[in-house]
């Protein structure tokens, strides 16, 4: 392709050059050296092709360089996002309200129900350890993420009692799907913090997963108090999930948020390929 382009470009250059020669010819004082003329043209044509090929090669090198820069930047961006998720996970573990209230619950249970207090301590430790581990991975199975979520919810259920109900509708074949770590957990955390805990009577968090046409569909639903005014800096969870899905899956990732009849629903889906497993 480059050679063809080079020929065409050289042809055009030659044509322009020929024009110049004609021009110079017309104003020259000596007669043209006709026998060498054709020779010259062939020579110039060859030189021009070479020059063009050189330029094209340089250009190609530049493009390749830029491309590699771009890929590098993309990998870097992905890495940053992953790190961000990890950081968020870290912060989630030390979400002060979650941590201190859980510790307070444990403190209360030590006299009334020591066995339960111990279970809570272990759950809390496992939750911390798991999110640290998962945060360093590229992809995990949905089962792993769900197990983390279960720990989180079990701890929160001790705090909120019957106010926090959970309904899980997990399709069996989704369990082995490979997903980015800690994508779902922040949404569940939001559902508790901004949904259930702001309601006098609490409510039910619904979590549903489905596999359809090689796409994993996940739905998180929770009731919320329409009068509740979240403090600044909230809503970050959904924003983070959105940007992660966008970066990781581009046009193939989807996330929709709906607030209707005092129910907050997040639906997101992305392709799960064999290469991910």
């Amino acid at each position: 392709m480059f050679v063809a382009a080079a020929c065409i470009a050289a042809g055009i250059e030659l044509f322009i050059g020929y024009g110049w020669v004609q021009l110079i010819d017309s104003i020259q004082f000596a007669p043209p050296i006709s026998p060498l003329y054709e020779f010259w043209i062939a020579g110039i044509f060859g030189v021009l092709i070479l020059v063009f090929l050189l330029v094209a090669a340089m250009h190609y090198v530049l493009i390749a360089y830029e491309q590699s820069n771009k890929t590098e930047r993309q990998t870097f961006e992905l890495k940053l996002l992953a790190q961000d998720a990890e950081l968020r996970a870290l912060r989630a573990q030390i979400d002060p309200h979650f941590l201190f209230n859980s510790l307070n619950s444990i403190s209360a249970l030590t006299t009334s129900d020591p066995a339960k207090a111990r279970t809570m301590v272990i759950l809390l430790a496992e939750f911390f350890r798991n999110s640290l581990d998962l945060g360093t991975k590229n992809r995990i199975s949905l089962t792993e993420e769900l197990s983390l979520i279960d720990k989180f919810l079990t701890i929160e259920q001790v705090r909120f009692g019957s106010r926090l109900q959970v309904q899980q509708d997990i399709e069996q074949k989704t369990l082995e799907c490979r997903i980015p770590p800690l994508l779902l957990q922040p949404l569940i955390e939001n559902a508790v913090r901004h949904g259930i805990s702001q309601l006098l009577e609490g409510g039910t968090i619904t979590l549903r997963t489905q596999l359809h046409n090689d796409r994993l569909n996940i739905t998180v639903k929770n009731p919320f108090d329409p009068d509740y005014v979240p403090k600044k800096g909230t809503g970050l969870g959904v924003k983070n999930v959105r940007s992660r899905i966008q970066t990781l899956y581009g046009n193939e990732g989807r996330i929709d948020i709906e607030k209707k009849d005092n129910i907050f629903t997040v639906v997101f889906s992305f392709p799960v390929k064999d290469s991910d497993t």
Binding site: H97, S105, L200
Partner: protein, 249 residues
């Protein structure tokens, strides 16, 4: 402390284990009687109004009504020990106003310390600067989003968008919303200051109107006009009020 004076106390926390812990600590003291345990702000307002306890141990983060809002709704609030898991701003506010507070999880010793301190302070009967506290703790929005009205021992939460208009009635304001009238002990000027000026206009010394509810304005007499609301209510507009309205509409 005078011998054998028992402090009537209520516990307010939306988390059961937290109440359990306080109960455990408090029952070990013979100078404390737990008069009530409340799991939300509404129950707390009711208990404070009906039982008039000496002391409330009050969680700050609760659904619907936070700890500060509970106290604002009660006429003569008791001595208070605040409890919070984590709230930098609230803690700063407590320090600033030398208010007793507990950081969860807390030890029995820490609670005892706070109780002894409160017992001493109770004698001085110094009222709590609740509004200043709430503002310092960042729990008081600059613009009101809902109005809390106490009706006996019940609390009504009225989102400001639902308010049609507000009328002054002696020391009270009558808040008209969804066909009902709610009396609240507050001064007009105070309420006016907290309402969104882009939505509510004080059209007269004795009335504030939700702009969205105005159907039309008619000339009533020289220098005075009448606002006809969508529900047919007629409200007098003063000249100053009309000037303000003209700018808005």
């Amino acid at each position: 402390m005078t011998a054998k004076s028992v402090i009537q106390t209520i516990i307010v926390d939306d988390e059961e284990p937290a109440r359990l812990l306080l109960r455990e600590y408090l029952t070990k003291r013979d100078d404390i009687n737990i008069a009530a345990e409340c799991s939300n702000g509404f129950d707390a307002v009711k208990a404070l109004t009906e039982l008039k306890p000496d002391l409330a141990i009050l969680d700050i983060q609760m659904p619907k009504l936070n700890g500060f809002e509970v106290l604002e709704l009660v006429e003569n609030p008791p001595a208070v020990i605040f409890a919070t898991a984590y709230d930098q701003y609230a803690v700063k506010a407590f320090e600033l106003h030398a208010v007793d507070y507990l950081l969860k999880p807390f030890s029995k010793e820490r609670l005892d310390e706070a109780l002894d301190h409160v017992a001493k302070r109770m004698k001085t009967k110094k009222p709590l600067p609740i509004e200043a506290l709430a503002a310092a703790a960042g729990m008081k929005p600059a613009i009101l989003e809902r109005v809390l009205v106490k009706d006996g021992s019940k609390v009504h939460v009225i989102p400001v968008d639902k308010i049609d208009y507000i009328e002054a009635k002696d020391d009270y304001v009558a808040i008209k919303a969804e066909g009902k009238s709610h009396l609240k002990q507050q001064r007009m000027a105070e309420l006016e200051k907290m309402l969104d000026p882009a939505k509510f206009v004080r059209v007269h010394r004795s009335s504030i109107i939700n702009l969205e509810r105005i159907a039309r304005i008619e000339l009533y007499a020289k220098d005075s006009r009448m606002a006809i609301l969508k529900d047919g209510t007629k409200l007098l507009i003063s000249r100053a009020g009309y000037d303000k309205l003209k700018k808005m509409l």
